[in-house]
């Protein structure tokens, strides 16, 4: 959709979006410096962009940046990796074998609507370290989008492709590997990409409650010790990291399924 209507005009592609971003920055600056108070929402305590930039520079040059970043990235990757392996694995089997769906899906459907944040107290009680409980929260956040998209992808594989493969001599394992997995791949990659976003979302929440290090903790700590510009730095950092890792998943996905994008553009 975006590719079909994407303008080749540099004015629409680069200049207008940049101007829009710049305008937001100016509005923010004005609202913060003049301590705009709209009654319902107030900018009295909101730091201006310049203060945020300065705080960002301070964080960038501080020895604390790496431990914060490292802790968050480590947790996200541990939880997300476990969710990806389990989600894709279980999803393939549930999608392929109806009896497994009846056994495995009902308990998962009960757990699914519980938001990751609601897991925090129980997770702290269930796991020996706060580190593990945070990884678990990240895991629950990423699991369901990955699992459900995998199941959906497997069920949408054309039955005639499976029949063709069987007629060409493929056994059940070969069908799973050669037909079901690549057939479901576009949907799986969508799930992995959404899961990456939700796992960041859940991690930051978990870190605010029970962290020592990490970007979420840094943001919350900044609030507690009233270093308001640091809050915005933390927020922006979370955004950049989430966007960056989703982008990484998407571009890896494009690389893995070149045939798919080609087909859509034909």
């Amino acid at each position: 959709m975006a590719t079909a209507s994407s303008p080749t005009n540099p004015w629409l592609r680069i200049i207008l979006p940049s101007l829009s971003l710049l305008a937001c920055l100016v509005l923010w600056h004005l609202a913060a410096t003049y301590k705009l108070d709209l009654g319902l929402v107030s900018f009295v305590y909101v730091p201006p962009p310049a203060a945020v930039a300065e705080a960002a520079w301070n964080l960038a040059t501080s020895p604390k940046l790496l431990p914060h970043l490292g802790s968050s990235l480590g947790r996200v990757f541990a939880g997300y990796f476990a969710a990806a392996v389990l989600g894709v694995g279980i999803g393939l089997f549930i999608g392929r074998w109806k009896s497994l769906e009846s056994i495995l899906l009902p308990p998962l459907e009960v757990l699914r609507p519980i938001p990751a944040v609601a897991w925090i107290p129980l997770a702290i009680l269930m796991f020996p370290s706060s580190e593990l409980s945070m990884i678990f929260i990240t895991f629950t956040g990423a699991l369901f989008p990955i699992l459900l998209n995998t199941i959906h992808g497997v069920e949408a594989v054309d039955k005639r492709l499976v029949a063709s493969a069987r007629s060409l001599g493929a056994k059940p394992w070969a069908i799973l590997r050669e037909i079901i997995l690549p057939g479901a791949a576009p949907s799986i990659i969508t799930g992995l990409s959404i899961g990456m976003g939700t796992s960041w979302f859940c991690l930051v929440t978990a870190e605010m409650v029970s962290g020592q290090w990490g970007i979420g903790y840094y943001t919350w700590e900044s609030y507690l010790i009233r270093r308001y510009p640091d809050i915005v730095v933390g927020m922006l950092l979370i955004g950049v990291l989430g966007m960056g890792s989703s982008f990484l998943i998407k571009s890896t996905g494009r690389f893995l399924i070149p045939w798919y994008h080609l087909r859509r553009n034909v």
Binding site: R160, S164, S167, A170, G183, Y260
Partner: protein, 281 residues
Amino acid sequence: MNAIASASSAVSASELSIHLGHGADRFEAVQKVHFTIRPAEFICILGPSGCGKSTLLGALAGHLKPSHGQLLVNGHPVGGPGPDRGMVFQQHTLFPWRDVIDNVAFGLKMRGVQKLERRNQAKEILQLVGLEGFEKRWPSQLSGGMQQRVEIARVLVNRPSLLLMDEPFGALDAQCRMEMQQLLLSIWARIRTTVVFVTHDIDEAIFMADRILVMSPRPGRIIEDLRVNFPRPRHTEIVTSPDFMHLKRHCLELLRHEPGRALPRLSPLGLPAEQELQAVI
């Protein structure tokens, strides 16, 4: 004597019935058909849409299980699908995630043939169907006719004793369809495998077949076993010959059915699209 006849025939069906659907929706798609096919014979199964001709093909491929009677291929009952009975669908069953050469080499990969060897063999077959130079294309980059050539090549690479084709040129335009018919006949002249070719196109059936099995609307029965004696190799000119017209008129009469009885198309995998697959072995 019957046993000897079935042992020497490529396909033999006796009292063969196939049911589709579940519960109250269950119906007899193919009813008590009886026929034999000799090795290297080119058979067309001709019938109106929904008559069960594709269902019969599905049973030969092993995707559908007969409910009554006996179905032997090379003297053995059909178990499940297998590479000895290659199946070509109407369209879009190439693996979109494999390029042309790997689609064709798929059957060899399933047999454990080494990569280099299977690419070489696949290349040879691609030459046979006139697609050299297209090895690295994705299926979506090919025209409908070229895709069907790849489908045929993908099946032939397994050297099947039985080539099953479900309206393989049904989605192509008239010009392309004629080219493909001639291509298939020229390939068949070289590899001489048994072909069962399902179509609802009378011209196509007469042009291609040694024998035409004509089926009635549901429940599908074989109402005529027509021998087509045009010499081979056949050229498109025969289509306008008096003998051809005569046969065509005969087929038209056989296929004439009461208006308002159009049935939904069945597939070799059972019921169409949204309805669930039945009895996949």
